[in-house]
Symmetry: D2
């Protein structure tokens, strides 16, 4: 069996998740080494999973001829530079989202990848979620007909600290970015205009830090469809992740996944489970499946299912949404480019 | 038992519906007479339901001292004038929506009613729907906490003729007006700003007639909440009427009513009923209950549950939505007043 | 419009329900008179609904040539005798269930009706329930294929007093009788054998009175299908009424009706409505529809949808179930006849 | 980390499933060797999963001092003898169900295990299913109150060949055995009496081979509760696995797991997914979790969650059910012992 040799850059939450996922569930790949700016993190993951090499830094990994592909799971501000270096070193790249907050840097990554002739897949794992992938199939199969309306509900169980929100680039960039990609994925088209109706209702500290925590974002797509995303940083009942696509022939709706489907009927009502707690629980299957498809795309030289351009588009929409809030008007994507 | 004596102006679909509803289900009221610009219509309904008087016109009804309250179910363009005359004649008024397309005329009705000291209830029947009224109770009881987001899905099973859409004032005025009222009802607050992302995807003839048939309307409320309505003139699966209110303590969601709750499991899938066909089926209970409450408000001198101001607010939002589409920008309600 | 003139015998809960139902919702019938062993009850209902005649007793009603059909809503022990007299008087008969606890008396009613050439419909209202009627249609239309298994869940919200259970003939006769009829209705076949696994778990007083309050009743049908009914006199969450029919092509399942379809999602879980409280709420639509069909069967000389033989079959199954509990073995219906 | 060294006897469908499960998902155990009567099977699994030793036969495995525990996944008729030898060799035992078709042989296994002081867990994986385990927790936590009724629906997507049904001991032994264990698990009590209402409606060849394919099995439990299982060898819509427990305080119901929770609404109805295809898909999580608990029970010297006595009880009920069908009467478990 052919096995892709991968190195993982970053041994934090998402890096170790991918490491475990490959070790336990992806027989077509092997993690040959790992690195982290905090060496202890890399060593711990390596010990736990039996990974042979712990590199001093990512440059050492890129210099290792055994490594065929890298997973860029470091902090967001380093994604683009590392990805460009990795491309130059001839490594295939799986890069966590967002690729970068600056469109021109994302474009530089895309260019470097193109020049080097390597694969680049961006970590839009939700495309691989069993529910959402199923709706997308219905769209592709024509069951929905022409897409008229895409609706996404995306609410987190707990807000981040106000500091995080300030550093991350804000809600549209650290949270809604997934929804922006999902909207394009479902509509089968690019966004052309954004109007963000956003406010701070969950935590005043977030507002003081200059960000929003509650939003309704209205979208126009190039193919004529329209869309809406609603976000909250805190849903009392947990992680709320729903998608609906409505078109000329019908509609498809995905509701939340739950730990069980047991219903309890008692004197106080009929009670069902709350949604799975947060993204690690909710999207575990999609994290595994995006990795399987990345490995497969490299080994079999197939197109990757989430490209650098997809990553660029999502960041453009996020920046348009920020501008829309700041200026209180709809913003064209062409204004951002 | 006290019985309110009512007269019905207009024997069309909605007038005869209210006539039947009172005759069969409202023991506290009696329909003493009916009138219609097409006398035959009035005679037919009177014969069927055993209504004693058929008036030559509404002026004759207003002159009848036996009549204590009138139901204004005539064509939209006559609502305001008739309501003002009815107020001057000292009759209590139930007026179908919209009261009028011109805000100043609605204000004139409100003023006339105030001066005459009579009751005015506007026909926002959906406030009385079992599902939506239940969500509103949860909002009032504090189960939702502070309201953050109101979401309304409202899609018709079939588009009207393009001619109708042109005459009616357009989708926002003949269809979304209910949703605008529902949004305020659920948020417990007035709308301050509207951005309508609207297009024509269902029937090109509607677009040629200058109207839209598909829309996502983003709202801001005076209390800080935000909201969104999505509309389509045609859902392949029928009449889609859903409401969701999300707040600091949780969320409540109403799904569609269906003819049965039977689920069929066969080789091709698990199949459930489509929604009840259209508004007559879906909202029959609410049409009856709004009438019960109107009768009760008059007999017991209680506040009406849907006022002239509610009627005015809904038309202001509809006009703002039209302006928003025309100008491609968010529109303040204060710009319309 | 043709209008059937009916008289109502018994002005208790079920008699007044039918009286209201006809007055408000059945334009093809007119209640011309009512009677009750407690004259006050009859007078009260007559006054409330504007019924003209209050008869001293049912014999007076049967002697009134204006009366074309009677509704036998008196106490169970009088059903058969009154029905026989009504048949001899040439009146069509709607008889509440059970017709009688003694099969030979039910047979006597059937014979009297046949001889008189009048219609007899037995009050198995649940056949007309929107959900169950829909499943039956699927059976008839061949969507289920050959019926293999019929499953009925039937649980009351509160047990009756132990005294009532003793007088009524016991749970199988006052409660399960509906389920026995439903089982035959769904299987499209008669029951041939019964095994009742029954016990007293809800209220010891019921057991001391010689009855059961919890049961699983296993059935064999003449057409080869098998079935099961589970009963409880008390479900903490209310009135539980579900039916499932499974066959060679698939299965259909009816769940409980609820006051609303609102779902509340909060920190403690996802909560939906409990079932409609009890039979008056749950089966109001079916009480009305059985009456519409009875009136129609008489006026249009059509077959009635629930016959005297259906009434006889249900009582035979109930008696077999009692014998099965007493003797701890399966009992053939042929043993009871 | 402590790691239990296990050997797997039988490399067929269930043996290789457990092998994969341990290799990929159970870090606390290591498969040191495998064996199969068809050596090729064992070699193939060993190669795929990197298992070091392939034993010539199970005796060689039992003689290997490195092996601490064995998984008995061989053909049913060999389970008991191998388990007894394994106990004598001092190995802990995970034994697939049924332990044996003859109660005395199951008792011999229990005795051997007791004498050797090793652990024995029987492969009732469904106890570990997320839905059913959740209901059991509710029972244990008192949310259901006293258990009154246990209901299990268990239907396969496809019947086995008539030959298999004849060899396997029949439907009650190869299929319902899981449901018998589940019934005891949910009731928290042993079965005392069984009445099986069973027939052949799916495939006449099964009937000709002397078995049934459709059944309703009525149960009495030692604690006073009652129960019912309904089985079919073929549900057109797939694998139907539902459990309901009803008690004095309420009820809990588990519905089927599905590949996605997407609902499609189109002109022909509202369509949801069919259940997961068959036991490998439906119970994958429970196969893994039973293994985790077995390993944990051995390593930490805890009680196993499904004992030899549980295995004995299930086979006794199955034999009682067969006798009940043969003799057409309820059968006491005490008659079988």
């Amino acid at each position: 069996m052919k096995q892709l040799k991968v190195g993982i850059i970053g041994a934090g939450r998402i890096g170790s998740l991918h490491a475990k996922s490959i070790c336990y569930n992806v027989p077509t790949a092997k993690v040959v080494g790992i690195t982290d700016v905090f060496a202890e993190n890399a060593k711990k993951v390596a010990a736990e999973l039996g990974i042979e090499k712990v590199y001093a830094d990512y440059k050492e990994m890129l210099a290792d001829p055994e490594v065929e592909a890298v997973l860029v799971c470091s902090s967001t501000d380093t994604h683009a530079d590392i990805a460009i270096e990795a491309a130059k070193a001839g490594k295939h790249i799986f890069c966590e989202k967002p690729v970068d907050l600056t469109p021109s840097k994302v474009e530089a990554v895309i260019a470097a990848v193109k020049e080097a002739g390597v694969k680049l897949q961006v970590g839009f794992n939700r495309r691989f979620d069993h529910n959402f992938a199923n709706i997308r199939s219905m769209v592709n199969d024509g069951k929905i007909g022409d897409v008229h309306i895409v609706k996404i509900t995306s609410r987190d169980p707990e807000p981040p600290s106000a500091q995080y929100a300030a550093v991350s680039g804000g809600m549209f960039i650290d949270m809604t970015i997934h929804d922006f990609d999902m909207a394009c994925f479902m509509a089968g088209s690019e966004v052309t205009e954004v109007y963000a109706n956003a406010t701070c209702l969950v935590d005043p500290a977030i507002g003081q830090a200059g960000d929003v925590d509650t939003a309704i974002i209205s979208l126009k797509f190039a193919n004529g469809a329209i869309g809406v995303i609603d976000n909250s940083r805190r849903a009392a009942y947990g992680y709320d992740q729903r998608v609906e696509v409505f078109g000329s022939k019908g509609a498809a709706m995905a509701s939340n996944d739950t730990p069980t489907n047991v219903v309890y009927m008692g004197a106080d009502g009929v009670v069902a489970d709350k949604p799975l707690y947060f993204f690690l629980e909710r999207y575990m299957q999609s994290f595994r499946d995006e990795m399987l498809q990345f490995i497969d795309a490299v080994l079999e030289d197939k197109p990757v299912p989430a490209t650098g351009v997809d990553g660029l588009n999502a960041i453009l929409i996020a920046l348009a949404a920020k501008k829309s809030v700041a200026e209180g008007r709809p913003v064209l994507i062409s204004e951002i480019k």
